[in-house]
Symmetry: C2
């Protein structure tokens, strides 16, 4: 037995199904060589003698997965929140991302980002960097040291950027991408590269073709954006007159799921054909409710995606979203689903706490494999939560305590965090 | 000069108009005997020698006003968030409020409430207690000690409650109300009673008549609920067949503004006649965006209320809302206004940061008089905000720093708080 074999004792909460919780009070969850061996009311005979951390009355939940965020945007989150997507990209985001050409600036910014991410209840994340290879590798170095498991993408963008933020040509973008993959594919214990064409308006057909070849050669996952905003969708129609919906702009190059795991962020305004193609190709949807609200994009029909059985997890989408904690994404997802039900379509019922919990844990975690639950054989991602500062005269059930922590907690409530059995906090 | 005469030095932000900010960097704001004497780039000759607190690079803003919250609901905020208004009242709220018959329980609960409220950026609040006179007076004792300025209401409800939570008759309710007013009208430095008929479904016509007499006699302000939820509005129609809209159910008894300042919480679904009557009567609207979202009530047309020139401030509506800080109500107000613009009515533009700031400060503060600004003669309510833990590699303008504090801060960022010149924190 090694140091990645131990037990945690406390009130253990995880998903039973995608719409129900399993709560084991005053129980043990076992990590055996980085994998979960299960939840037990008593420490089983075979584990007697392993280190056991008694969290007393704390709650223990699986780590949360952030399926979509932009590391270079973290520094200016919560500023300029009065703009829509395309204006926001041009006036704030692109000029700021251009600064990551400067490695000194990148180190300052990404060090803060990595430190702050450690303090969240998130244990996994899929992260956009910028188009710059050196800064992206620096970010990967820093994220590796956090102990969190992440996928990080050097961004591809060879059109519709700014003179300061655009790659010279499709060939140059592909060349940089290959260099970056070769540098990083096997370099890290905790970080892997993920192909990251920014979105269709930023990538020429030629670049998409080259990325498709690269994906086939290296068998890499991919992340991008889809059907976030009406203006964006119209623009894609103009740019790709041969396609009948946005998703086809990726699919025509084989960059829309299938054999390589793929995340599409947002899917606020996906048409029926797009939804069916995502289902067929096994695309993961990153639902980013706060960003979709801040940028006035709309509210994604998450109930429909769940009913259709699509893969769906949550994203903070920093800096479209201002808060990096996926707890906030959970409550935002519930809240906007209630508004959508009330204002847009009363046939799609609001999300429940249990469903938001599932999306935040196993729903998004599945992109990383067996992640986001305490079932036997799952990678051991766990967060220890102490609610003693959330004073109340009432005696709450563990379920109520979990709901309060999700709505009210901050970094002060996190008393420990493990990713794949390694202590992060 | 007394101890309520002093200066604060820092970056001073307040509303210039209802849609613009006045920002004075590295300046002085003067408190003279509890009133604001103005903002100055240098300490004027006449104030040389008064105590001056140099906050270094902190931001200094007027205190925020919470126009609507329920003290007895604070203990169970962020639980049972999957219910709509009327179900939530019956299954959670009414049984919990009934417990405030027990003074020992009330003391435990209200002590936590008062302590936690001190830690928010709010300096003023209009608070619902329960129907119980002793517990309400206990709450007033505790709130008085915080140094915040508040109005607290013993709730009236003589119908449609539960056996455990309803007054015996209109007469008994009125009798208790008079006793409570006589006890508290001149008792406190910082707390005043406010008439609080829960809402029309809870108050018989007879009770409303008696409250109207009481209001005339004591010249008291009043707070209640209005047009929050479709089911509630339908119910009021049934209960008051002689009225053509909800607001008339109060107005027919003279309990809808006019000579006595009146707050109506929510106004999510107010019809045009109701809006015009609120304008005519000078009713204050307490906009409670998080509560209206959590209880799936909808989104109030705040832009319309601002354009019409109605009085409007913000409310946390704990526990329909989970967060007591009015910073959260500000960002929620902006966010839901964007969704309303996108999903319901593109003629009503989203709220700006400046407008949300105005509603949180002077908009709601005006219910207390000259409150919520640093203009000469305003009561000196101020909050000192330190953003040094919100790390970023960027240099921000004071406006950007203010936006970040509004979106990202918590109690750790509040370095000082004054109400009417008295130090609260």
């Amino acid at each position: 037995m090694n140091q990645r074999t131990f037990a945690l004792k406390g009130n253990i909460c995880c998903s039973e199904t995608s719409s129900s919780l399993s709560i084991s009070e005053n129980s043990y969850v076992i990590c055996e060589d980085g994998l979960c061996a299960g939840v037990f009311p008593f420490l089983p005979e075979k584990y007697r003698g392993i280190p056991c951390m008694d969290t007393k009355d704390c709650l223990i939940i699986p780590g949360l997965t952030d399926l979509h965020l932009h590391a270079p945007q973290y520094g200016y989150r919560a500023t300029g929140m009065d703009l829509e997507l395309l204006d926001w990209l041009n006036t704030i985001t692109f000029p700021q991302e251009a600064r990551y050409r400067d490695l000194e600036f990148a180190e300052k910014a990404y060090s803060i980002f990595a430190e702050d991410l450690k303090k969240t209840p998130n244990t996994r994340a899929c992260i956009f960097a910028t188009l710059h290879v050196p800064a992206t590798e620096l970010l990967m170095d820093l994220m590796d040291k956090t102990g969190m498991k992440t996928m990080v993408g050097k961004v591809n963008m060879d059109r519709n950027g700014t003179p300061q933020l655009q790659e010279e040509s499709a060939a140059a973008s592909a060349c940089d991408t290959v260099k970056w993959i070769e540098d990083t594919l096997d370099k890290y214990e905790n970080v892997k590269p993920i192909l990251t064409p920014r979105f269709t308006p930023s990538c020429s057909d030629k670049l998409m073709e080259l990325l498709s070849e690269i994906q086939k050669k290296y068998n890499l996952p991919l992340q991008s954006h889809l059907s976030e905003n009406y203006g964006e969708i119209e623009w894609v129609k103009e740019l790709c007159p041969n396609t009948s919906f946005y998703g086809e702009a990726y699919d025509q190059f084989g960059l829309f799921g299938g054999s390589c795991p793929t995340i599409m962020a947002h899917c606020v305004h996906s048409c029926e054909e797009e939804i069916q193609l995502m289902k067929k190709r096994g695309v993961y949807i990153a639902h980013c409710p706060q960003s979709n609200t801040n940028l006035a994009s709309g509210i994604a029909p998450v109930r429909k995606y769940l009913d259709e059985g699509l893969h769906i997890g949550l994203g903070s989408d920093v800096a479209g979203g201002t808060n990096a904690s996926i707890f906030r994404a959970m409550t935002d997802a519930i809240q906007v689903s209630k508004l959508r039900w009330r204002l847009v379509d009363s046939s799609l019922k609001p999300l429940t706490l249990e469903e938001a919990f599932y999306m935040a844990t196993e729903g998004g975690g599945a992109f990383f494999g067996k992640v986001g639950n305490f079932k036997k054989g799952y990678e051991f991602d766990a967060v220890i939560l102490d609610d003693c500062n959330l004073s109340s005269p009432l005696d709450f059930s563990v379920k109520d305590r979990l709901e309060r922590l999700i709505y009210l907690s901050d970094d002060r409530n996190i008393k420990g965090k493990f990713t794949a059995g390694n202590k992060v906090l």
